[in-house]
């Protein structure tokens, strides 16, 4: 049975608007919440050092590092929580973490 994949929920809902059983029909709708505000430091990549291995992509728990043009990798700062794993795991040290205040 086909159900609309995306649904715009206006908030707060009245009781008859709440989906039955608190089902959520919009798969992946958590992406509406930008966790990027959590970070106190952000990753900065020096593409000159990047060897395009994809390790940062593999180890990001947020799945916010994605491959961009020319095979480099970039963190989506809307979601990046600044955990520092990518910088720590990057072999050539192409990624460094910088404090948000800087």
């Amino acid at each position: 049975m086909a159900k609309k994949k995306t649904e715009q929920k206006k908030w707060p809902e009245k009781w008859h608007e709440v989906n039955p059983g608190c089902m959520v029909f919009a798969a992946g709708s958590a992406a509406n919440y930008k966790t990027g505000s959590w970070k106190s430091q952000r990753p900065l990549t020096d593409n000159a050092k990047c060897i395009k291995c994809g390790i940062c992509y593999i180890f990001c728990p947020e799945a916010c590092i994605q491959e961009v043009k020319d095979g480099f990798f970039e963190a989506n700062l809307d979601y990046c929580k600044g955990c520092g794993i990518c910088a720590h795991e990057c072999w050539p040290g192409a990624i460094v973490m910088r404090e948000e205040e800087e």
């Binding site: 049975m1 086909a2 159900k3 707060p12 809902e13 009245k14 009781w15 008859h16 608007e17 709440v18 039955p20 059983g21 608190c22 089902m23 959520v24 029909f25 798969a27």
Partner: protein, 387 residues
């Protein structure tokens, strides 16, 4: 009118469910439900129906497996009793909140402690707030008919709530009665395969059982409450359809010789038959008494009950369970609450009896009517307790 054959009620209940095109049955045995579980196993192992039979390792897993199955779109069934139902307790409100139309038979049995395997309603009463539709049967034919109807009621798109059919343990489950099973073709016409509102399948990925913050929980309570209250409409409608197809009419509140009665007794479950015999005896002796039988316990059929008792002066409410430390029996407590705001209401006498399988005879019911005449206060009576 079809052919009636002698059948044990538990067996008949399993046979009835087998007519319902169930997809998954997850059962764990407990006396006195075990004959339902065993016969279900026989039916499936003989290949008579196409369903998955999960011999789970506990009742908690039985209801959990049914939840998973129902969430995946299956018509799911289980059966239990007493301690098993208590073990399911955690999951019952979850299943109703998730709007999963699971159907269950409960072979009413006293709850430990002390351990007691015989009949009373102490197992279903603690579940009354769980959001399940709760029906009571009085005899084997009702056990068959309500078991089949429960699927239709539960799965109705305006209901989508789980449903439990109570069958008094031993008193009813183990009785052999002349019973009529509808044919498979008739049931198939009455009950098509389940069409779930939503189901777990990658063709349409959804998330079920999400958690709710304080800003939403109250609204979910209202939604569930409204669904349960409204289900009475659908229950009544299904009862009417059943009457048309099979000639047996059920009501959410049954009345027996209530016309002109100044004292009425209210019962639930199989004791109604014995109470009816007592009413007949007393009527023969010229006493103006009658019987009200509550078939639907949740949602509570307020209007129908009030209509049934509006002329009587005294209402004896039979409870086969107690709310320990509270106001007496659960049924009497509910009725008193519901009548509280009414300008005129009968005097209500709560009698708690038949606990732990203690037999209730015609003489007992006659004695209760006598006691009702004499009793001055409105405290509850724990009938027959040896003091």
């Amino acid at each position: 009118m079809g052919k009636r054959i002698g059948m044990e009620v538990a067996i008949a209940a399993a046979e009835a469910v087998a007519l319902c095109n169930i997809d998954v049955a997850a059962v764990y045995p407990i006396t006195p439900q075990s004959h339902i579980a065993e016969h279900m196993a026989d039916i499936i192992h003989d290949g008579r129906i196409d369903a998955e039979f999960i011999t789970v390792e506990s009742e908690h897993s039985a209801i959990s497996a049914c939840a998973g199955a129902s969430a995946a779109g299956a018509r799911a069934y289980t059966a239990t009793s007493s301690q098993g139902l208590m073990l399911m307790h955690e999951i019952l409100p979850i299943v109703s909140a998730m709007r999963l139309p699971i159907c269950m038979a409960n072979a009413n049995r006293a709850v430990s402690g002390p351990l007691n395997i015989w009949n009373d309603h102490g197992d279903i009463m603690p579940q009354r707030d769980s959001g399940w539709i709760c029906l009571f049967t009085e005899n084997g034919q009702e056990a068959i008919d309500l078991s089949i109807m429960s699927f239709k009621i539960a799965e109705d798109p305006e209901v989508m709530l789980p449903c439990v059919v109570n069958i008094d343990g031993f008193q009813l489950t183990h009785m052999i009665e002349p019973l009529e099973l509808p044919s498979q073709a008739e049931v198939a016409k009455f009950l098509p395969p389940r069409k779930p509102f939503a189901q777990l399948h990658p063709d349409n990925p959804i998330s079920m059982g999400c958690f709710a913050m304080p800003d939403t929980y109250t609204e979910t309570v209202k939604a569930k409450e409204t669904a349960l209250i409204n289900s009475k409409k659908i229950i009544t409608r299904v009862f009417s359809e059943w009457a048309k197809r099979f000639g047996r009419k059920y009501n959410v509140v049954e009345t027996y010789r209530t016309k002109g009665a100044d004292t009425l007794m209210l019962t639930m479950g199989s004791m109604g038959e014995t109470a009816a015999t007592a009413v007949d005896e007393m009527r023969k002796a010229g006493k103006k008494v009658g019987l009200v039988k509550l078939r639907l316990w949740r949602p509570f059929p307020v209007e129908e009950l009030k209509a049934a008792i509006k002329e009587c002066k005294t209402l004896i409410v039979m409870d086969r369970a107690i709310s320990t430390g509270g106001a007496g029996g659960p049924v009497a407590t509910d009725i008193k609450s519901l009548l509280y705001g009414d300008k005129t209401r009968p005097r209500i006498l709560n009698v708690i009896a038949g606990l732990g399988g203690r037999d209730l005879t015609v003489e007992d019911f006659v004695a209760m009517f006598e006691m009702a005449k004499k009793k001055k206060d409105e405290t509850y009576e724990l009938y027959g307790v040896r003091e």
